[in-house]
Amino acid sequence: MIRYLLILLFFYCGALYAQVTPVTELSEVNLKYIKLKDSVYTTTQTVLSDSVLKRNQSSLTSLLNYNTTIYLKENGLGMVSSPSFRGTTAQQTAVLWNGININSQTTGQTDFNTINTRGFDQVVVKSGGGGVIDGSNAIGGSIYLENILDYNLGFENDLFLKYGSYKTYGIDYKTSYSTKQASFSLGISRQGSENDYEYLGTDRINKNGQFNNTNISSSFGFKLNKRNIINFYANIYEGKRNFSLPTPNALETKYNDFNTRSMLEWVSKSRNLTSNTKVAYITENYKYYPNIARDFYTYGDVGSLFLKYNLDYELGRILLTGGLNYNQNNGEGSDLAHEIRHLGSAVLGLKHKVNQRFLYEISLRQEFNSTYESPFLYAAGIQAVITSFYTLKLNTSKNFRIPTYNDLYWEGLGNADLKPELSYQGEMSHVLHIPNASLTINGYYNKVQDLLLWTPDVNGIWRPKNAENVKIYGVEGLLTAKKSIAAHSFNVSATYAYTVSTNEKTNKQLIYVPYHKLTTAVGYGYKKLSAYYQYINNGEVYTTTDNATEHILNSYMVANFGLEYNLGKKTNTYVLGAQILNLWNESYESVLNRPMPGRNFNVYLNFNI
């Protein structure tokens, strides 16, 4: 711990010395129209823009692993992957597609290897509880997958081609056309890999690990008049994965995902009022083949309808917000009885910018449903600009996670008497905003009650229940800095998290929650040449609830290096790039007995016209 802190301190001091210009503009102090969900006044969020997405691998797992404090548990490259955000469980991170919560209704979590980041214009990571705005599962934090509609840019095309070790390929094409009134974009992405990498230090290879996926995303925006905008978003994802074998002679299995998302949005503005109406329909479908040699599979299938209405009212320095949400899930599966459930909620919010230096916000949410207890949620926070370079934020919130279809309706084992998990948290952020660099230090505390867990009884039968309470606290540091000297430009972003997440009864650290995680990305540009280096260090994790040392998964460090050259002129870019992944050939696993690849290579081409 001490060693990490010293390193960080050293690192940050070095960066402060560099006297650079700000990378992230944090001071959007004007209280004009703000969508409540975009607010970062009293919490912390990190925006991963298109340029960051392109330099990372296409899976959401890899993107977040190298750029955020989130620990990713990946069953081998490309296989099932789940997050631990701020010491929470896989189901306690909400993933939202253009504002719609897409966590699986059957498992409660999102498999981060079924999200292809090439289908989005930016990915935003919001730390901490967001239950009032993001709904269920936003306990450790939320991930926003966003498509952005641009206007008046004409015709644009972007082609990104990539090929690398283990026959890994990526083909991404995005075309967009926009006028002053209308905007249209269509993106198609195809990723695949034989994924037959060697397990370092053994004579085994990753057998039966091949995968491919296709993502199609489209958005359409139309400004009807000065006051009314209609937007439409659609996304189709199809993923086919064979599951890599835990042991060489194991039975070969595979897993197919098919997800669709579509949403119609109407934004209407008048002098003081802004209303936003959304209708969305998403479907999730999986098929698991326990033996690839046969056609037999088990499946889960849920369709979800969302209706969201939000009204903002501006009154001088005050913004009042009211919202109504309705969500219907209609699901069934091999082991799930067919069920339809209805969930509703009402939201009220107030933001008040008292003066140039002080802002507070309060928001409340009441859930309505007939299936289980409907919690009342809240969030409140302040932002105080203490000096020109130091801002203090305080935030507290109550958040929840609803029982999943599996928890409630699994035939024979589902438990209709489950309550939602509840999380009470408090957070303090210090934002240091110095020329060309910003440093955020967060401290938080989170108490999660009535964790929804499947636990075995004395006869070894697993059943879901509200089983445990968990206490989490931690410290995070987020740094970005940038500097240019003549034709040379440098940029650095780094994150560090110290996380203690303990079971209240046993006082043991939760499994797969590292005490330490560090990420660093350094970029260097000289004229048309750029180089970048990414580095993560994940601390050791326990894999057993008794924290037995012989079952610890070792800490590891993994680094990637990339080099690219822009052959283009003016606004057109023709980028030729190459990457070395796992540069130091580290042998590592993020889940026990699931080795990750050693050093491997790829080259890419990006045309943007």
Binding site: R3, Y4, I7, F10, F11, G14, P246, T247, N249, A250, L251, P290, N291, A293, R294, F296, T298, E411, G412, L413, T455, P456, D457, V458, N459, G460, I461, R463, F490, V492, I511, H516, L518, T520, V522, Y533, Y535, N537, E540, T543, T544, T545, D546, A548, T549, E550, H551, I552, N554, S555, Y556, M557, A559, W584, E586, L592, N593
Partner: protein
């Protein structure tokens, strides 16, 4: 800056290998009892512990002797002459070792798919296999040549073959069920390698034991979670006629776990309690013989009477190292031993 980056490279802690424990002074694992720890599903951390008669525990002995892991979910173990066979269910392998030194002799991979239990007749081993667990028609008994360690034939059987016992060349296979739930005992002729008959029993036959020329079978019945709950039973089958000659039927909603027969008494587990049935009157007792409540068992996952002791395996929450609890034949708690992940069985090596 570069210096800092390089400095950061060194934060990885030293590798933490499985602790290698020194073998017993005699150099072999005789005069004691093996405990099979199945390990977590897909985590490949199955292991074998050995508790010698003085109470000394040796963990991870397969790894200590052979320098590699046992595999993914160790299901059961069987002895034949000087060899021990460890059936590794999700690895689809059988590890053949010397039963005293635990040195590896062979790893059997061919024609083994979801192996469950094993017995022997002459030079042949008979292994029950579920095959593809989701396929209810591909279950079989594999026949192993114990001289060559090669599977020489397979006998197709009905779904979910579990325990297998040999009575002078007649094999009894309990169809507990894998994907579904079974309710038969198959009778096989070991030399002709054929199924000769089926014995109808209650649902979910698990443990079987042969005692005084009778075969006893414990059927747990289908649990409430199956949506079709059925009653449990203990059946006594005459080995000469293969007919059920006596039985105990449990009350509705009562599902016993494991049983053992010792000194004309049948002991079975029910939740955290152990009940005792006198084989002479073969009726259910009112009150438990003893309880493991005081030892706060998480998951009661193994039960064995051996060398005058009653051994109970506590698998905790399936995600922690387990414990072996030892009781005397009067049900008095004696001591406990820390073993490894998910202990599921005991095999005396005296």
């Amino acid at each position: 800056m570069l210096a800092i980056i390089l400095l950061l490279q060194n934060c990885t802690s030293d590798d933490r290998d499985i602790i290698i424990e020194t073998p017993p002074p005699s150099g072999d694992y005789a005069n004691g009892i093996f405990v099979l720890n199945e390990g977590g599903y897909t985590y490949s951390n199955a292991s074998v512990s050995f508790i010698d008669n003085s109470g000394q525990v040796y963990n991870n002995i397969f790894y200590a002797v052979n320098g590699r892991g046992l595999g993914d979910v160790a299901q059961s173990m069987a002895f034949h002459r000087d060899k021990a066979y460890v059936l590794v269910n999700n690895s689809n392998t059988i590890e053949v070792v010397n039963r005293y030194t635990f040195e590896s002799i062979s790893t059997i991979e061919q024609d083994i798919l979801n192996p469950r239990f094993m017995t022997f007749d002459g030079d042949k081993g008979y292994i029950t296999n579920w095959g593809d667990p989701a396929d209810t028609t591909d279950d079989y008994v594999a026949i192993l040549n114990t001289e060559t360690n090669i599977v020489i034939n397979t006998i197709s059987v009905s779904e979910g073959p579990e325990e297998i016992l040999n009575n002078n060349g007649t094999l009894y296979v309990a169809h507990k069920g894998g994907w579904g739930y079974g309710n038969t005992i198959s009778v096989l002729n070991a030399s002709s390698e054929t199924v000769i008959s089926n014995i109808q029993v209650s649902d979910v036959p698990g443990n079987m034991m042969i005692y005084n020329n009778d075969l006893y079978v414990l059927c747990a019945g289908k649990g409430d979670y199956t949506g079709d709950e059925t009653v449990a039973g203990v059946h006594k089958i005459n080995l000469a006629t293969n007919h059920v000659t006596d039985q105990i039927i449990f009350a509705d909603g009562v599902h016993p776990g494991y049983f053992q027969i010792d000194n004309n008494s049948l002991l079975f587990t029910l939740n955290r309690d152990v009940f005792k049935v006198n084989l002479n009157d073969f009726t259910l007792p009112e009150a438990p013989f003893f309880s493991t409540n005081a030892q706060n068992v998480g998951v009661l996952y193994g039960f064995k009477i051996s060398n005058g002791n009653i051994y109970v395996a506590d698998a905790k929450d399936y995600v922690s190292n387990g414990t072996v609890l030892v009781y005397d034949l009067q049900g008095q708690f004696q001591e406990n031993y820390n073993v490894k992940l998910i202990p599921n069985g005991f095999y005396s090596n005296n």
